[in-house]
Symmetry: D3
Subunit: 137 residues, 6 copies
């Protein structure tokens, strides 16, 4: 069963986040492999697999939450890509972020639209994985 959850989670993660998501999580392999396992088993194998809420709506909820909590960078960009894969238009993603100005303030929205702009540019450039963080180069 646990193995099943892991397999189910890995499949769901690849379906939603593709190569980009795997690259982001690969950073955990050395330092915290069990944290990565939790994300695959619990986040993807349990939460994102649930019926009752369409995956497009799940990604909108996640993008909204990440902006509100000010998680930017690869974390946000990976979920923005997933939102697009799930059927959101770029405009819909931008509208979600802009709406967050009402609840999390303007500076939070300003930072997140910059991340979204980067995500769109990376997609247009055909990039399939995040740039390695400067500190690990």
């Amino acid at each position: 069963m646990a193995e099943n959850r892991f397999d189910r989670g890995r499949k769901k993660m690849e379906e939603l986040h593709g190569t980009y998501g795997s690259s982001v999580l690969a950073r955990l392999d050395l330092v915290a492999p069990d944290l990565k396992r939790w994300i695959i088993e619990f986040a993807f194998g349990e939460v994102y697999c649930r019926p009752g809420l369409d995956i497009k709506l799940r990604q909108i909820a996640t993008v909204a939450a990440l902006v509100a909590l000010r998680h930017g960078g690869d974390e946000l960009k990976s979920h923005i890509r997933a939102a697009l894969k799930a059927g959101c238009s770029r405009q819909e993603v931008m509208e979600v972020i802009m709406q967050m100005a009402l609840y999390a303030g303007f500076p939070a929205a300003i930072g997140a639209v910059a991340d979204a702009g980067e995500a769109f540019a990376e997609l247009d450039a055909g990039l399939e994985r995040p740039a390695p963080p400067a500190s690990l180069e």
Copy 2:
């Protein structure tokens, strides 16, 4: 034009939040009428009126953000009601809140499902306005 924004905002607010929303904002009439005006003109007359994102998706984004930022009580309950009016099922609302455990932690989700439970119970009881805060009684 500004009058138009105000009128457009008031109409949008009533469409989305009904009597309940007006009751929540009525508390601002005495202490900060211009804050109420901003909410009507800017939040409802400008942001929630935009095309490009379906109102059901806007409400899902807002519920996610409020849970992530831990705004509960009448604020969250009013947006949960609005999400239901916009076509979300109760299950969809609960799924959004539960998913927030991944991003905002379990205690944030626990608090918000309690608020959602109250919102559903108040709807079942036919309540059309929030209970007055203890301190104003």
Copy 3:
């Protein structure tokens, strides 16, 4: 295996939080039973069961985090009780909370010492479950 995780988690939860913890989570039975299951399976059956960090240290980390994130009330009181059951003295709990003034600011610490005072008083009075929230009475 999943059943095992659930059983293992329930046992761990009862060991750490006793009747008090069960009462807090019982509120989820009606509105979000799967959120309760996640807490038992994942938080207690997976995280709190891990070797590598003594349970007393786990509770200190949790109390520190709850204070820093300003989760008070029954959530904090339940973990303060668990810290005491895990071998912390009341003084140690208070020192953890007071130290948080450095990182989360004084108002966060002030609020949490009040919760701790309540938790100690309820223990002295032999209370085994949290008071029902006003709104559910």
Copy 4:
């Protein structure tokens, strides 16, 4: 010297917050007397005693921060009273709170204007100390 800091702090606290502030901090006497001592010695005896920033400006900064961090209730109300004693008008206090909608979002501002309304009403009623919290009655 430390004694001097304590005396200086107590004097500054009384000058800024009067009876109301002492009542708020009195709650710490039993549970965390050293936290109260830190607040008097460090916050009032060290920070609020500094030259280089007028006390009216210090109170405006504190009200803004409390609203942004969503510390409401007696904490915020005590600093609103202190801002008024330091020469702010009620309108100035309200403007500071309303401006926070831009940076902390509308729900944070809505909650704080309610607290400010209560603070003004309590002042008009001649109340010199906060109502005891329900849980300590």
Copy 5:
């Protein structure tokens, strides 16, 4: 009227933030022009234009809030510059930031004094616009 608000806002923004502020917001032109319009119309054309609170006091409130919410970088530096233009001394800005240690914790204050030091150094070097973010070079 809306055009008036936009013009009034742009004038106010230039008055308060000069070339530096325009450069920060110019980044929004491509990805989210309406977010930029909201900031000009609502934040500058509506909020910062209000009577009832001196602009120096408004900037102190904003610097305090940005530090408390941990918005650093160009956002904070732009408002520090605006505070100085509005008549604050560098010492007053530093005092506001240092005071935030009480409410947002020491690490938040440490990060913000570093930003302030950069802002002062950039002013001394005569820089009139923020350095382009690494990712856009």
Copy 6:
């Protein structure tokens, strides 16, 4: 007495954080020397010197809080080093961070395990001070 607190604090800071901690705080010398003095006198000379909570437990509480509040970089790495010096194993530090996923969400834990990985690598490389921030080079 104040001098004593300063000396006591400096000694405690060196005992806990060694050269690394001094280097982090040295950045404050020019811009905010009194903030540095507060940290030495109050945080180290007052809080961390207290009996009643073992220093290992204090460092675990601090690491938990920094992760929960999302203070990363040198601040977190300095406290991770201090936790190791105080007797924590690397595994214990990682467990504390991973546990924070429950309370602060997965993205907060993911970011912090990356910082911990860097801290461990820097220790293995014998680095005794943080890399200078890019902006000060």
